[in-house]
């Protein structure tokens, strides 16, 4: 073959094909993950499953942003390793007189080739994977969704944008790599060390304190000042979390640099060489470990949503009644006979049908808000909201539970394990008013009663002493009586269709007074009207019986378990897949970065290992040195990343209601299980890295 520079470059490319393949794989993998994810997320099918402006979508976007960052980081690392392994070749060509311009052209050509292949295959296979996922979704969770369009230009656009950013960053790195003027630096790039300065024991202790203080005060600080000092911390307080980040960095520096002979001299000498090797590449190692810890945390955090959703599903499946409808007595709503007729049509058998009346009374309460300068405002209103009341005897009649309520006191119906929160205290209510008669009754909070059947999410419900109830509700008309219908059905294949039809009929018959949003408060509307201010919690559009997502905002949404379960499955199925995906992206980034770092250790220390051999070190000793270093790279960031998120979740659980609910324990247990899976994954990557190092160092 005629020898030319092109043929030489081609031969070198073939010889170093593993480096090119590695870069190609990383580019392909990141583009594939991002493309498939955004094509699924931005698909009209999936978008229809998310409530507009809802928290779920925001949370997914936030975690997805983290994962995209993870993808970019692992591309940067892969490119860094590629340039590093190429530096010797570049240095030799420069030393032998090849112009930088020509080398640059060659490098850009090679990058174009690798990136081009990676991007095209990543986008094509990403789209194919997205189609596969959407097909599965449409045939499992989303069988009855009206929207069937799979693609949106936005998804593909974002993936192209990500590809463009990747190309830009990698070409910027290539230009910087070629701009270097010191040829000796280029030739010795593979052996380049970045040592860290020595630190004392106090540095590590300070790092630990910073981590705990940053984490604890970042979350608990605003809660403490709000509760104790009635003062809201400004948003800048979130910067306290940075103290935790600094703490993590300091801890890593400490673990890498601090080694004293101390009380265990044997151990000190045992690890002397590997510790000193790590110290000399300390800066790169610590940077890597920080990124690994951050991505491990992100992977677990994204994964922790999955058990949360599953536990919620389990709770939903465990509702005390299958059908639960509430409306004002005066509404021309669906009645027992209508339900029975409809059930007959669908061949559904109704069991345990019951109706119960609640009296609607105005309740006093406290409106809380923060001023712009962080001070708490607490305004007491005699008619703060409308609550729904039942007498103790009627309550006992329906539930079989005897609730002792002394005259002049009340019991509030809550969910199991629910506690009061900062914005609404049980003791806020001390007066009730019959709006029709003007009668008032002073009351004192006595107790809470846990009851899932009679609990309403957006209206407070209370139990009164029988005589108090009689007195305050005397002469009350149907206008202020709320009727709750609840019943079960026997299992049959038509239950879901019956439920849908019932729900549609319920929506069709709902009057305009029922067309209000969740946050609607009649008392607040009255106040706004009196003050001549607009009030925004009435629906502006007529309610659509066909709209499956009406329940997100509707105050009178009927709780129909078969529908709720299916709708929840739609949404959470998509969300679970999304969070799982984000978690996978983070894990992929972790694997690639840790693997790359491990290989770099082998490449950089190759000469040192040869020298050790000359000094009589056996392969087992060299393996020990390697394992010792690898263990730190894998174990420390994993441990700190997992610890961070697990403790953060614990702080949130406790911060919510000052205790950990049984459902939270279940979620936490599953999250710990997921943390164990991450550890196993890291173990696999560790073993793969070790195998690769054995190959490189011929051990």
């Amino acid at each position: 073959m005629k020898m030319s520079s092109s043929s030489i470059f081609l031969k070198l490319r073939r010889y170093n094909k593993k480096n090119y393949k590695q870069l190609l794989f990383c580019t392909f993998f990141s583009i594939f993950l991002v493309t498939s994810f955004v094509c699924v997320l931005y698909s009209p099918v999936v978008q229809a499953g998310f409530p507009e402006g809802g928290d779920s979508l925001k949370m997914i976007m936030m975690i997805f942003a983290l994962a995209v960052l993870g993808c970019l980081i692992f591309n940067i690392y892969a490119a860094g390793l590629f340039f590093r392994t190429k530096s010797r070749e570049t240095g030799v060509f420069l030393a032998l007189g090849m112009s930088k311009k020509r080398l640059k052209k060659e490098l850009y050509k090679e990058l174009c080739l690798s990136l081009g292949k990676g991007i095209i295959s990543g986008i094509v296979l990403g789209v194919v994977a997205a189609v596969g996922i959407l097909w599965i979704l449409l045939h499992t969770f989303l069988t009855d969704i009206l929207e069937r369009r799979m693609f949106s230009a936005a998804g593909l656009g974002i993936s192209l944008f990500f590809a463009a950013v990747t190309v830009l960053i990698l070409f910027f790195m290539a230009a910087r790599y070629m701009r270097r003027t010191n040829l000796m630096d280029i030739l010795n790039e593979e052996k380049k060390n970045e040592p860290l300065q020595l630190v004392k024991k106090g540095y590590g202790i300070a790092g630990g304190i910073f981590l705990v203080v940053g984490l604890l005060f970042g979350y608990a600080g605003p809660q403490l000042t709000a509760n104790l000092l009635k003062f809201q911390m400004p948003a800048i307080w979130n910067a306290v979390y940075l103290v935790a980040a600094v703490g993590i960095y300091m801890l890593f520096v400490f673990f890498i640099v601090y080694h004293k002979r101390g009380k265990q001299p044997q151990k000190y000498y045992h690890n002397l060489i590997s510790n000193s090797m790590m110290k000399f590449q300390g800066r790169q190692t610590v940077r890597n470990m920080c990124i690994l810890a951050f991505l491990t945390g992100a992977a677990l955090y994204a994964g922790s949503y999955i058990p949360d959703k599953l536990v919620m599903f389990r709770t939903m499946a465990d509702t005390p009644v299958d059908f639960n409808l509430i409306y004002r007595q005066t509404e021309q709503e669906i009645q027992k006979e209508d339900i029975e007729v409809m059930a007959d049509e669908y061949g559904v058998t109704i069991t345990d049908y019951q109706e119960v009346l609640f009296a609607e009374l105005q309740t006093s309460g406290v409106e809380r808000d923060w001023t712009d300068d962080g001070k708490l405002i607490e305004d007491y209103y005699e008619t703060y909201a409308y609550g729904e009341f039942i007498s103790a005897s009627v309550y006992e009649q329906y539930t079989g539970t005897k609730v002792e309520v002394e005259p002049g006191t009340f019991a509030q119906i809550i969910l199991p394990e629910q506690t009061e929160n900062f914005w609404e205290k049980y003791t806020d209510m001390d007066l009730v008013t019959n709006q029709e008669t003007g009668a008032q009754l002073n009351l004192k909070f006595a107790k809470t009663v846990e009851d899932r059947m009679f609990y309403r999410a957006n209206v407070h419900r209370y139990i009164l002493n029988d005589s108090d109830f009689q007195t305050i509700t005397a002469q009350m008309t149907e206008q202020r009586q709320m009727k709750q219908i609840f019943f079960d059905v026997e299992e049959s294949e038509n239950v879901y269709d019956f439920a849908i039809e019932l729900r549609k009929e319920y929506v069709r018959r709902a009057g305009k007074d029922m067309a209000v949003l969740n946050a609607y408060n009649e008392a607040e509307e009255d106040r706004a009207e009196a003050a001549g201010e607009p009030y925004h919690y009435r629906m502006t559009e007529p309610m659509d019986p066909e709209d499956p997502y009406l329940y997100h905002d509707w105050k009178f949404n009927p709780e129909i378990q078969p529908i709720q379960m299916k709708t929840y499955l739609h949404e959470s199925g998509i969300m679970i897949l999304t969070f799982l995906y984000v978690s996978c992206i983070c894990l992929a980034a972790i694997g690639i970065i840790a693997y790359t770092r491990s290989v770099t250790i082998g490449v950089q220390n190759q000469k040192m290992f040869d020298d050790l051999r000359k000094l009589g070190a056996k392969n087992t000793y060299i393996m020990r040195c390697i394992k010792n270093q690898l263990r730190k790279i894998f174990v420390l960031p994993t441990a700190i990343g997992l610890f961070l998120i697990l403790s953060f979740l614990m702080i949130i659980y406790i911060g919510n209601d000052k205790r950990i609910q049984s459902t939270e324990w279940m979620s936490f247990g599953c999250t710990v299980g997921f943390a164990v899976i991450i550890c196993i994954y890291q173990l696999i990557v560790y073993r793969m890295s070790l195998k690769k190092l054995r190959e490189i160092l011929k051990l």
């Binding site: 030489i8 010797r88 070749e89 007189g97 112009s99 930088k100």
Partner: protein, 252 residues
């Protein structure tokens, strides 16, 4: 041919600046085989790297056939490295993916030279240095001495004005070292090559026509070989012993 005038070079480490070359002056003539010796840290390798413009320097001039190397533009410097300089490194710097023959050809491949002439030249050099038999082998398959002779052959591919060698025997045993030095001598003898070699090894340096001894960033002494190699070696060892305060840590 090579003139080095008042060369100064410093390294900055953190807040400290270390002056490594403190005004070095010397000249090398066509066909000379010159070695630079001196204790560790005396600035030998830095001097070589400055001459080859691998690293920048603050003050002074390096003139190759009257051309100021530091003032040359990137393209021109590449041309000089390819045509007028040849490099031999301590750790060979061969490309592992290419055979011995291909490695030797690289300098002409870079300038897109006609292959017939290139192959002929490579073959001649390989034969001259006794490595023709391993022409098709890869660097991983040959010994250190063979690797370094390949590097020497590569350095001579374009008939450079000057060969710059950085500790070319540093990684070799005595037999291989001798073979490499023989290769340099053959190049000097047959091709009228000029060689500038940085070395720690007094034995290798004893083959040179002249030895520049450096200490603390300056030229301490220049020794010119007038008699036979053995006498020159003794002379070198005595001088190095004085520099090292009688420790005599230089290798023979």
């Amino acid at each position: 041919m090579l003139e080095v005038q008042n060369l100064h070079k410093s390294y900055v480490v953190g807040k400290d600046t270390y002056e490594v070359l403190k005004g070095v002056d010397f000249t090398i003539h066509k066909g000379e085989f010159v070695a630079v010796m001196g204790p560790s840290g005396s600035g030998k390798t830095t001097l070589l790297n400055c001459i080859s413009c691998f690293i920048p320097y603050e003050k002074g001039k390096v003139l190759l056939n009257g051309k100021k190397l530091a003032q040359l533009k990137e393209e021109k410097m590449a041309e000089i490295r390819n045509q007028e300089l040849g490099f031999v490194f301590q750790d060979f710097m061969l490309l592992d993916g290419l055979t011995v023959f291909e490695n030797v050809c690289i300098p002409q491949v870079i300038e897109d030279a006609p292959y017939e002439k290139m192959e002929k030249k490579a073959k001649k050099l390989l034969k001259m240095f006794g490595i023709w038999e391993i022409a098709d082998k890869y660097p991983a398959e040959i010994s250190g001495g063979q690797k370094q002779r390949t590097a020497v052959a590569r350095a001579l591919m374009n008939d450079p004005l000057l060969i710059l060698a950085d500790e070319p025997t540093g990684n070799l045993d005595s037999r291989s070292s001798e073979a490499v030095i023989e290769a340099f001598l053959a190049a000097q003898r047959n091709l009228d090559a000029t060689i500038f070699m940085v070395t720690h090894d007094s034995f290798s340096a004893s083959y040179c026509d002249r030895v520049i001894v450096m200490k603390d960033g300056k030229i301490y002494k220049e020794l010119i070989r007038t008699g036979d190699r053995r006498t020159f070696l003794d002379e070198l060892l005595t001088e190095l012993k004085i520099i090292n305060g009688g420790d005599g840590d230089e290798d023979e």
